[in-house]
């Protein structure tokens, strides 16, 4: 059994799964549950915009260049300026400012502090040297809340003590000293809660594999995965695809990274801020719309517009956003063979093995691309139909509408009468349920439609039946070789 434990650990480590040293809990994606909860506390408490949440997450993970401690330097100076302006005698007043959910937006911050001794027309100033604008200050206060409340308040007393000292000498020197302390604390936090080393290894391997190229194709992802499988790393295909999603989003940042560290002109650094934010853009640009995965996870209770199985299918197709639009072949590979591989990994985790494992590795049960395409099409059609029903429910007054529109709404009504799903009997509750789900429904219908079109285009260019047969041989070979030891 000990051997099995090691096998599981090896699989998980290769998939970027680390364990939290304190709790032994599994951590995926480079962070642990504590970190997610700490960030959620600040984000929910202040009702932060997605852009501000993304900024805060970036600061916490350290994705800030040229100097990942720059936000802490800014925070220390902002607190010094606020301490001086408010005449704070101790750290308490600063804690109160940091924890005040009413100071979460630039407008609120400006309304509170404009005209204050430490400000000019654009924002906060310390000793005529350091400065930040109102939106910068609003973000820094969110960061202040994070450093105070991190690790479920484990550091609260310590940081409050530091703020006491800052309030006693709120000048540039005091700020620099606090900045150093915060930088040390945040490095320790990353060590404890952000297991980035396995991720870093994976990205280094991708960089070596691409040998300086920034552009890549579906077949590069597959070739890289096979190489990792042969090397004994055995990462999940989906996990690797997820890493390529991030690589694509961040690739444009990589050129000139070294130049930035040496040149470090302020203008260059400012440009970088924007580019780093942009690399999180597919999560933030469509604000207030959420990432598709989050949207599905938070689907409201109510009429069964989507069944659990339909939501799972959609999540499976859309989890590699934006690849369902841009790289449909990788989406199909992940949905078909990625699932086979997860099945193998799960079986090993549960302690199974033997013949069944060999059978799974041969990919005989893999869902064909044609079947997946049909399922994606059915989902898109279902969502489009639900969208028409939503319109029919929302538009009660139809006299002034064109005959075509009226006919379409009538058709949707007829459709509605044919639906046999829980919660579709009571029209008032149904109308409310559809209204609550309307924006999510619209976005999902749109994305399912884009997936359907991307798959159709792929089929024309690389017929799915042949592509599946070729891929099945490749995946079966790779999986059989990689898991042969366990299957024996």
């Amino acid at each position: 059994m000990a051997g099995l434990g090691i096998t599981i650990r090896r699989i998980e480590e290769s998939q970027g799964v680390a364990r939290s040293p304190g709790t032994g809990r599994r951590m995926t994606g480079g962070y642990d549950e504590r970190c997610a909860a700490d960030l959620a506390g600040v984000g929910e408490g202040r009702d932060l915009s997605r852009a501000d949440r993304a900024w805060l997450a970036r600061v916490v993970t350290g994705a800030v260049r040229p100097n990942r401690d720059k936000p802490l330097w800014d925070l220390a100076h902002a607190l010094a300026a606020l301490a001086r302006a408010g005449g704070a005698r101790d750290g308490r007043a600063l804690v109160s400012l940091a924890l005040d959910p009413g100071l979460a937006t630039p407008a609120a911050v400006e309304a509170r502090f404009a005209g204050n001794a430490a400000t000019d027309a654009r924002g906060l100033v310390l000793d005529g040297g350091w400065r930040t604008g109102w939106s910068g200050l609003a973000r820094l206060l969110a960061l202040a809340e994070f450093v105070l409340t991190a690790e479920d308040l484990a550091q609260f007393a310590t940081v409050t003590g530091w703020l006491d000292e800052l309030a006693a000498s709120p000048d540039a020197e005091g700020a620099a000293f606090l900045a150093k302390r915060l930088a040390r604390q945040s490095a320790a936090y990353r060590n404890a809660h952000l297991p980035l080393a396995p991720l870093e290894r994976r990205f280094r391997a991708i960089l070596v594999f691409l040998a300086g190229r920034r552009a890549f194709g579906d077949d590069d992802i597959l070739a890289f995965w096979r190489e990792e499988m042969r090397g004994g790393e055995r990462p999940g295909f989906r996990t690797v695809a997820e890493h390529f999603v991030t690589f694509e989003a961040g690739a444009h940042l990589l050129d000139g990274l070294e130049g930035l560290a040496s040149a470090a002109s302020l203008a260059a650094a400012d440009g970088w801020e924007e580019r780093l934010d942009a690399s999180l853009a597919d999560l933030t640009a469509a604000e207030p719309a959420e990432a598709l995965a989050a949207l599905l996870a938070a689907w409201p209770d109510g009429p069964k517009i989507l069944t659990g199985a339909e939501r799972e299918d959609l999540a499976d197709f859309l989890r590699l956003e934006p690849f369902h639009r841009t790289r449909p072949l990788t989406t199909l590979r992940a949905a078909s063979f990625g699932r086979v591989q997860s099945g193998i990994a799960n079986r090993l985790r549960r302690g199974g093995g033997g013949a069944d494992l060999a059978e799974r590795a041969a990919c005989t049960e893999a869902e064909t691309y044609a079947d997946l395409q049909a399922r994606a099409g059915a989902l898109a059609a279902h969502l489009a139909r639900m969208l028409r029903i939503a319109a029919a429910l929302a538009i009660a007054e139809r006299d002034g509408l064109s005959p075509q529109t009226q006919a379409a709404l009538e058709a949707a009504e007829a459709d509605l009468r044919r639906v046999r799903r829980a919660g579709f009997e009571d029209r008032a509750a149904l109308t409310a349920g559809f209204a609550a789900a309307a924006s999510a429904l619209l976005r999902l219908a749109e994305e399912a439609g884009r997936l359907e079109r991307a798959l159709a285009a792929l089929d024309r260019q690389r017929p799915l039946e042949a592509a599946f047969a070729a891929d099945r041989a490749v995946f079966a070979e790779a999986l059989t070789a990689a898991y042969a030891g366990e299957a024996a």
């Binding site: 997450a57 916490v60 990942r68 005040d100 959910p101 308040l153 280094r204």
Partner: protein, 170 residues
Amino acid sequence: MSDEARLLAELHAARALVRAKGPAVRPSHAALWAHAIRAPGQPVDLALERAIRSDPDTARRYRTLLGAQALAHAPLAAAASDGALLRRRVGPFELEILEGEDGAPPLLILRGAQAPMPRTIEAWLGDAAVRLDLGEPVEGAILLALDPAVPEAALLGRMLRDPACAVFLL
């Protein structure tokens, strides 16, 4: 190259964190902090008080916030002692209860060598809590009559005599 891989790893974790929906803590830190720094006698959020009394995790968070802003605090029994405790140290401060004679109420005396002196005392025993204004010091000592006719003062007196009582001087 090594920083390229590092930046991508940091971005990957940041993106995953933005997608992750961690459960937010309730009540919020902000609400607990506002409760911790309230002036004595100020109206309180009853639901919040109930949460602090009934939920051990909320109580722990609240006491952390309270302890961090206290001039001194003794989160648990200051002294192992049998029977009623009439004198205890809380950080640099000394608290003493003088029993009243001839029907006079007991007196709480708080002495401390250092300025500033606390303005408020909050005591916790089990799930019971009381917060009182201490008034101005006179010649380096604060005197508070634990008048049995004032329920909160009487409760404070009873609690302080118990070694398990936690004391926060704010």
